[in-house]
Symmetry: C5
């Protein structure tokens, strides 16, 4: 997983800084671009071909939101970059899906990278998609790795004038998109929580080699999750604290709300980590208990029958003079003796609570 990501990144090791190459898995065939402009509740669609011209004549208060799904085509990313005057390093970061969540201030925009998480049911693994946001003076550009477009509900809200979004600025739009991504984390955490509970039930009922592997799968997922969510805390915190003109005073209170959510997710991850770590202890202890069970059975059987076999062996000896052998009730007496020894041992083990 981690090894796979770095592998891809190494393709770039030889190339001069500034070359645009898509790093990461290509998750969609086509690149879809949706552009919407809105102000005071009124919205209209803009075509990519009109975009450049639109920007030139743009009403300064109208918000324009450009959403790109699919980031593997360098030409498109470069075009967008040229139109909005994005720094080459930002373009590189957009096309490289192996990024940590981060927030960077440039002169003319704020650049935000975060991750969308989703739980892949068939493989039971958590996967991530990179989302890059460019928030400038009444414009927002969002890049997603693949279809389906996660932000459709927000676009609908703008079109249908739902909530305050269609009347707010680009910063509130950015907030809405980040909020949508973070809300999605709760779904992933829920799935993970279910997995953990299922495993916990299993742990008590029948611990087996499979269980151990499941614990380790969970552990790795949690390492991966922490790596993904942890830096987001700083990203949102920085957004809150930056005195950037691109973020209005009234939006900061909303960012604080996202910050709380991220902390909540981080807390849950840490709690899960501690629980899973405790599960390993229970697993190892269960295995060792089973071993003890086995040893006790062995010990009970062996310690009862080994002495009895020895007694049988004694009277199987061929000495000419063994008086007991000629006794009338020798055989039943020996049998009684053996039975008594066996019962005494069982009582002893019972008192020792071996069974």
């Amino acid at each position: 997983m981690a090894g796979g990501n770095t592998k891809k990144r190494s393709q770039k090791a030889g190339l001069p800084a500034g070359t645009l190459i898509h790093i990461g898995e290509q998750k969609t065939e086509r690149t879809t671009i949706t552009i919407i402009a809105y102000e005071d509740g009124n919205s209209r669609e803009v075509d990519l071909s009109e975009l450049e011209q639109y920007i030139a004549s743009k009403n300064s208060n109208e918000v324009i939101w450009v959403n790109i799904n699919g980031i593997h085509q360098a030409a498109i990313v470069e075009t967008i970059g040229r139109i909005f005057h994005l720094h080459p390093l930002s373009l590189e970061d957009i096309m490289n899906t192996d990024q940590r969540p981060k927030m960077e201030e440039y002169k003319n925009y704020i650049f935000i990278v975060l991750k969308k998480l989703f739980y892949d049911e068939p493989t039971r693994r958590i996967k991530d998609d990179q989302i890059s946001l460019v928030l400038g003076n009444s414009f927002l550009i969002s890049f997603q790795e693949s279809e389906p477009d996660m932000f459709t509900p927000v676009r609908e809200a703008i079109r249908k004038r739902r909530g305050r979004i269609s009347e707010a600025g680009a910063d509130y739009l950015a907030y809405s998109l980040v909020d949508m991504a973070v809300d999605n984390y709760f779904l992933t955490m829920e799935k993970l929580g279910e997995d953990i509970e299922a495993l916990e039930d299993n742990l008590v009922k029948n611990p087996e080699g499979q269980t151990l592997r499941s614990i380790h799968r969970l552990k790795r997922e949690l390492i991966f999750l922490r790596k993904t969510v942890w830096p987001l805390r700083e990203v949102v915190g920085d957004l809150e604290r930056t005195g950037s003109t691109f973020i209005q005073e009234s939006t900061i209170i909303y960012l604080r709300d996202i910050y709380d959510h991220v902390i909540h997710v981080v807390d849950t991850i840490e709690t899960f980590r501690e629980i899973v770590s405790g599960m390993l202890d229970i697993y190892l202890s269960s295995v060792s208990n089973k071993m003890n069970e086995v040893m006790k059975v062995l010990t009970i059987i062996a310690t009862i029958f080994i002495p009895l076999t020895w007694i049988a062996g004694i009277y199987g000896m061929n000495f000419e003079h063994i008086p007991e052998l000629k006794m009338r009730f020798g055989y039943p007496l020996v049998m009684l003796c053996m039975g008594a020894i066996g019962i005494l041992m069982l009582v002893y083990f019972k008192r020792k609570k071996w069974f």
Copy 2:
């Protein structure tokens, strides 16, 4: 537990930000509202229907305390929000019981979320109820999840002019409520301390699979507790340091006192965690000691009787020429020999301190 909470939160993942939905378990049927206004020791009850009108004509120094038990009805929360001009995000947080303790400053009020803890005797689990406080300019609103109203003693003290509370401001009232919640933590810690001591006794007497599960139950309770209490430290610290006009100079010294109590609880939780962690070591070591005991019994019996059985086997062979078989005292001699070997081995094991 944790998984259960996130599950509920995920219901909201699809909805636009700002929708008021109760998240969490509904713990009471009805919503009870109690309103009391007081100044210089005189107090009077106010009815919900008069509240809006009262606010309009309110004497600026009179303190009004609105307490709501039951937070699942969005309409009531919205009404209160409208009357006191609360921010939509605060209303959302009030109705979402899956919050971390936090303290947030708004323009016209300070918003505080904390948890009430109680030890549920039948299930031996620690449960929590969310308390939200809104402290404004001579008003305080408190939201609790369920009956019984935890703050009744404070209300009585106001009515009966006990202590300085009925003459102090809304900030001292807020302090009293937080103090009451934190004092309650000590009761919970005490119950937990008793559980730990009981388990510790059990650990030495008879360690069994049940013990391990109890240790893990305690571990999880402590993870949960830490998650609940830890952020409160910051909340109270922030209250102390905030230069807010809603908190008077003279009240800060009382907040410092609560801060000490919270630190004390946090310390106790950490100590409990270390103790429980040490109990796991003792448990595993006890189990392993029991296993050793079993192995020693097996070894003693087997190593004594296996050689003796072999000797019996030798004289059970059917060779025609085994001179010993014809000896007059062959049998008693062999028996003596066997006894000697057995005793020598027992002496050896005794010296090795195997029993």
Copy 3:
């Protein structure tokens, strides 16, 4: 231990804030009060009955030191509090022996709580007594839980004009008392160091269940110690850094010295923790080595004699046609054979370094 402390605290959970109740074990019958006033080397005793009048007419440079042994009588604490204008919260803290070491600045005094430690020989446990100091403008009040009065040597030094103390201010007196308490920690650490060394010797010689319990006793003592000493670091650091007028410039250098001592104690505690933690590893490893020893004995005996018994079994079969049975030297040959097998196996085990 920890559970016991919280239990006591919970008695207060129902009462209104500000009620004076003694929390903790009552360690003395009577309350003894000693008051001494001194200036420029001259000292005189003051009686409790004269105290109030004395304060009123007090020469501003004369230092008055009030020492109270026994804090369970609310009336006495209240009287002192009234005379010196102490805040109700300070009085509460003085009577509650379940405090973390702390330092709090009030308008008219600095309030310091710390712990006296002593090693209780019979139970081999570390116990603590709470010391509260109130340092004001040329007055110092010290509260101790029990007799004997730990500060007698300091009082003697004042009476007999030993050292610079009888000529210095109340802050230097406060320093001397704290220094005396901290110096006492070294004695406790020494006792603990001896316990650890004794246990370490024992660990190598004969590890047994008792050893494990001793390790855990030490671990808990160290958790308790850390909890007690750790916050003192901050207390002394804060005293050093506070710009309070109650502490003179020249005394700060002495506080720095105490700070060093506290750090030294904290360091030693951490070192002890690491050593004790390492002892657990050695213990578990020793136990496992003993188990291996047992298994090897079992294996050597069983693997040698089980095959030999089988051989004996073969020639004990009753087939009519077993040619060996009729051979003249069958028996001695078989015996030689068995001996050879046994010796070969022993050689094999020897080479495997099993014994």
Copy 4:
């Protein structure tokens, strides 16, 4: 490894501070020096003999880059030091390859030490080479331990006017060199990731002693890596934040990019550490599972046949009166009995899920 490095350093313990001695392995025979000067896209080679004269007459905006491969000859390092007025401590650091990555500001230059990492295929170990950079007012000196020259692509880009480098200043050149080194880390991480994955496969298939050693080899490599990469974070961070005149405003954005890469590498190292640490758990658990397997086989065989052997022993006794021996179907009955006991036991073990 670590011990080897310190060993070399100790050679210097007796010598006065300031003596130039090469510390570390000599990795190349000859010292190669390449000097290139460039401005506005035009570049020219400079010979070492001309260097001093060149510096005197240097156009202030022209950038001169001196690259030295091989640092074991004190004379050459001293010459360079004299020409560029380097501090004796810098020269010492250049010749001592046992340095932590660091960044130090001197009056006339910034001194940077970092490490080049490469994965040595035959030994499967990660090795490092030290790179020292001296960034001054339009000059850069780079020292490498050995051939091949890692920076050849950058020199080519300057010669052939590729990218913006040939038109930018010495600070951008320094950035390019550091970037090249850091990009190289991704290759190393990728190799390590492959090793980890290979080991993980092996772990499940057949855990053996070799596996444990491989885990520990990886662990040590990761300790070494962390030690090497971790301080680089601070180095790049300091470069970003230093207000030095040697670094232009426009270059800082590029340093931030390197910073991100370093954080990414650090994150991956931490993730690898957690994974490798988890592998140890799986390994130990697999070994213990194998042991259980062995114990179960032993127990099944022993507990079935020991009682049966005892029965056979009974009817092998030589008592004169054992009625069963004379029964017509005594033998087949006993055989049936034995078969029944064996089958019952197998059923019991099957239900216990022992096989």
Copy 5:
């Protein structure tokens, strides 16, 4: 070790603050004092008897260095203290060898405590000697616990005008002494590194109880080392940052160099700790592997021969009607049968990779 140190300190617990008592082991018989004064390369020896007079008439730029070997005589330390106006607390610290490294600023001097480390070959333990430095306005006093004088090479360099030391100030002299002590640490680390490597070889070849004790010896040495070196980081850092007039601007760059060395030693200690910690894992795993080996031998022998012995037992029964016993080739057939069973089992174990 640690316990031993605190023990000594406790002697002082009863005494009034300010009493000069030597705490620690007395490591030398006599106290040797060497005084040298130098300026601009010229140096001369000064006798202790002349010292006081010399100080009075001292040329303000001449540096005087007083070195004392042996600190157990309170009279000498007091004399020096009186001549140079040292604070009583400094004198106490000089005579107490149980100090943490520290740096304290007084009005007229800077007081530095650090440790000299050396590896004691016979006992293979790391020992420490305390060095106290008092750096004032062109004077330096150094206290060492014992002969031989570690600083002889520096004195020689002053006498023979080697390096810049004889022309620099007292701060550069202080730097040289600290540097000498820190360089010495590398020798100790090297010895420790050799010990670790030797132990590591041993670990793979033959793990035994002795190995475990060696690991724990190393662990304790590393705890001790960390405790000694860790605070030095802060000491040197503080020296660098203090704006004291006793340290010239040009010397700070040299202190930064020492700081790097100390960080390097701290890093190596941490690396060693992680390696030694990993060695414990390998040791425990090796022991457990040996145990498995033993169990496998037992299982193979027992599971093969126990069933065969049963078969032999069957045909040893005395039933009158056992048809096989009368068969012509009964005996060889049974023997073949047994051989086949044995071989089949061996094949099974081989396939299970038990041997």
